[in-house]
């Protein structure tokens, strides 16, 4: 195998776009992470007084109109907030990578996006609903809905919420005619999007893949639904302290919103254009730990380390999903402990900004990318009393110097869908 083909199979992160409750843009986000700025507060996007859990990581003052390419502004009326976040995240990553439209031949660039269906904006369906149901009736009158309600639904209503719309708009904005896919398996969506993008580059179907995720669940319908089934924290009197990863007093998680996007690029391509490199993606593993027991995730971590060609002792830190849920944290800790014991610091950045769902994987991964790049690992918020059921070493407090070049990122869903990403600090070829 020639040196060139070896390089062409390596993939590096070369652009980063972020909009996060604690700070937007790579620098502001990093400074807020380092400072331990809390991003979870009482909800302000709407009146949350009736929700059992009233806390979230909200992005304040976001204006897609101010940020979006001028030529594309008119399309905003076909975008729900989650799509707006996604499109802007993609734009920021492409700008950061220095990849203006046309820089990469259109067939050689594609997108992998992590996203799920958005909830309808209430006002989109309010008039049709009001018109189609009696004041004391439980069931809508379908004959009225079909004839007089339906025409009150905005014509592009359905398109505003489809999960593949961030990817669709990004392909149009940047004339990306390579592969375009949208991953939907919940909190593992970002990792599998990254894994698939890596495979696409390795098999030669593209040189650059835009990999992003977005989420906007701080929404009255989404949070009504989630409060009925999701393991949310009820620590409403202390929002900043609500998410307590691996802490003995943890009682659930909180949602967050925003977007994180990277450009993933073949090493050859990045070197040839002298791109700024944030880090290298070495391995992405996906699997299922049925019943959230632990050994399945542990095996997945071992597989990913093997693919990356490293040992547990080479790892600077494990970046956990660390939701702050009783069951989930114990599961994750068992898996980490089985592979690393207590020897490796565990970092759970989600405590600062909430669970970004489909965007969580890439947002949390970004924290490790920046930590390796900047040589400092921020502390985990709100971990004060270790839980014996979580036999791991959680890094808290002041930032700690990064001592090793590798980090491991974990994600999972309530059904045990699990993913592991291994990245390396960029130190040159």
């Amino acid at each position: 195998m020639t040196e060139t083909t070896t390089h062409s199979r390596r993939t590096v992160l070369t652009g980063f776009g972020v909009i996060n409750p604690i700070g937007s843009g790579p620098d502001a986000f990093w400074q807020a992470l380092l400072a331990g700025t809390p991003g979870v507060h009482t909800i302000t996007h709407f009146n949350p007084e009736h929700l059992p859990s009233r806390m979230a990581g909200e992005v304040k003052g976001f204006s897609a109109k101010a940020l979006i390419e001028k030529s594309y502004r008119r399309t905003l009326n076909a975008m729900a907030r989650t799509v707006e976040f996604g499109v802007i995240g993609c734009q920021l990553a492409m700008q950061d990578a220095g990849l203006a439209k046309g820089t990469v031949p259109s067939h050689r660039i594609g997108v992998e996006f992590a996203s799920v269906m958005g909830a309808t904006e209430l006002d989109d369906l309010g008039p049709a609903s009001k018109h189609s149901i009696g004041a004391d009736t439980v069931e809508p009158d379908m004959a009225v809905w079909g004839k007089e309600g339906l025409p009150k639904v905005p014509p592009l209503w359905m398109l505003k919420y489809l999960p593949n719309m961030p990817a669709c708009h990004a392909t149009i904005l940047y004339d990306m005619q390579g592969p375009s896919n949208t991953q939907i398996p919940g909190d593992t969506a970002g990792a599998v999007a990254l894994g698939e993008a890596q495979r696409i580059i390795r098999r030669g179907a593209a040189d650059v893949m835009l990999v992003g995720g977005s989420e906007a669940k701080i929404h009255p319908l989404s949070l009504s639904r989630f409060n009925l089934f999701a393991p949310f924290s009820h620590r409403n009197d202390d929002p900043e302290g609500a998410i307590r990863p691996f802490d003995v007093s943890r009682d659930g998680t909180c949602p967050g919103e925003g977007t994180a996007a990277f450009t993933l690029e073949s090493l050859d391509h990045a070197l040839a254009r002298k791109a700024k490199i944030y880090g290298e993606v070495l391995a992405v593993a996906s699997g299922v730990d049925r019943g959230l027991k632990g050994p399945g995730m542990a095996q997945l971590i071992r597989n990913a380390l093997t693919t990356a060609g490293i040992e547990p002792s080479d790892v600077d830190h494990v970046n956990a999903h660390g939701l702050g849920t009783v069951k989930g944290d114990a599961f994750e800790a068992r898996a980490i402990a089985e592979v690393f014991g207590k020897s490796v610091p565990v970092f759970a950045p989600l405590a600062q900004f909430g669970n970004l769902g489909a965007a969580s994987g890439l947002m949390e991964l970004a924290c490790s990318v920046l930590a390796l790049k900047n040589g400092q690992l921020p502390g985990t918020l709100n971990h004060t009393n270790p839980d014996p059921a979580c036999p791991i070493q959680v890094h808290t407090g002041a930032p700690r110097p990064v001592t090793k070049p590798y980090a491991v990122k974990l994600s999972y869903t309530d059904l045990g869908q699990s993913s592991v990403v291994v990245i390396r600090r960029w130190e040159g070829v």
């Binding site: 079909g146 990817a167 592969p179 098999r203």
Partner: protein
Amino acid sequence: MRRRVVITGMGVVTPLGWTVDDLFTSQIEGRTAVGPISRFDARTFPTTFASEVTGFELGKFLRDAERYAHCGLNTHFALAAGKMAMEDAGLLNPAKGNRSRMGVYLGSGEGSDEFPALVRGLAHASPASGTGPVDAGEFTRVMLQWMDGPREGEQEMHTPAGHIAETFALDGPNQACQTACAASSQAIGEAVELIRWNDADVMVAGGSHSMIHPLGVSGFNRLTALSQRSDSPRTASRPFDLNRDGFVIGEGAGLVVLEELEHAKKRGATIYAELTGYGTTADAYRMTDPHPEGRGAIRAMAEAIADAGLKPADIGYINAHGTSTQANDSTETAGIKGVFGDAAKKVPISSSKSMLGHLIAAAGVVELVICVMALRKGVVPPTINYETPDPECDLDYVPNSAREVRFRHVLSNSFGFGGQNIALIASKFVD
């Protein structure tokens, strides 16, 4: 040499049958299942008909079906198709083989809102005048009472793929994608790549979807994507016909067991076909309209043919995306001509959707199953309801009756809202 991938199991739940044989027989006989919508009263909707799966109960497929009582139809269809595919492949026994090398890739649709509760909640929290902003706080208060938590939890998009893994002990790679009408074909293509790249030996791949609910039909009606031929629903899906006026919404699921060739041979599995080619591109053009010259479709087909190591002349049958919309059928025709040149007129092309309707995210996998059967039986299904030729659609669409054709390679197209173009090639297995 790259790892070869074969199909060793197939399962479908469709409006035209719940077994692969029933589905294929109905396709060859040119039957349709399109009829009035029965799920809800759609009599005043612009579109009143659909292609529904009727009489389906998960209990006919799984003994512990009550475990999935809160799940949506998309999950139920997927579990039934998964059961049949796994049984067909001889992999149902969870003690068999290395399960961490067996994964899932589903191109699955979203769950659905509980329509009556949503309308009731929105109406309740709307101003008395009927216009003006909905009171979000009051909306949450009533929705917390009117929605069912377990049901809502099962509408999340990761759940169908998660339940397939859980039910059939598939601990390997677990992915799910939603690229509209291209989703299940894209899932199959990328699952093939997972096996080729040695991330798995077996992938259970395909898709599942049902949008025959009030908001699904309302949404498509507002986009004017659906046929409104309410006086003749059974002839409404008429791909490539001059008088086509939109697609007919369908529902269902399909899953295929994709397996690395040596793995399949070692355990003596029945090999139905080899998955030899995959092409994936984006139009980068508009949200719903395909590029008028079919540029993305052309490259997807060309890439799939090259991926299979073939030339266009090797393709003996094309199963078209053929939705029966004005835009799709003419641009797909242009795309086929772009790839096949003069040979385009010689290759038989048909649209399964003329009979099945459009299964949205599940369309591609069900059509691939039909392709595999056509390959094995040497007969290609027709495009029914083809009456008036469209000058822009001037190829051989196998009008109205099936045709015996011996061929070795079949191309299946799937294109989706959002601009994703997928082409798959299945080939007769030759060791």
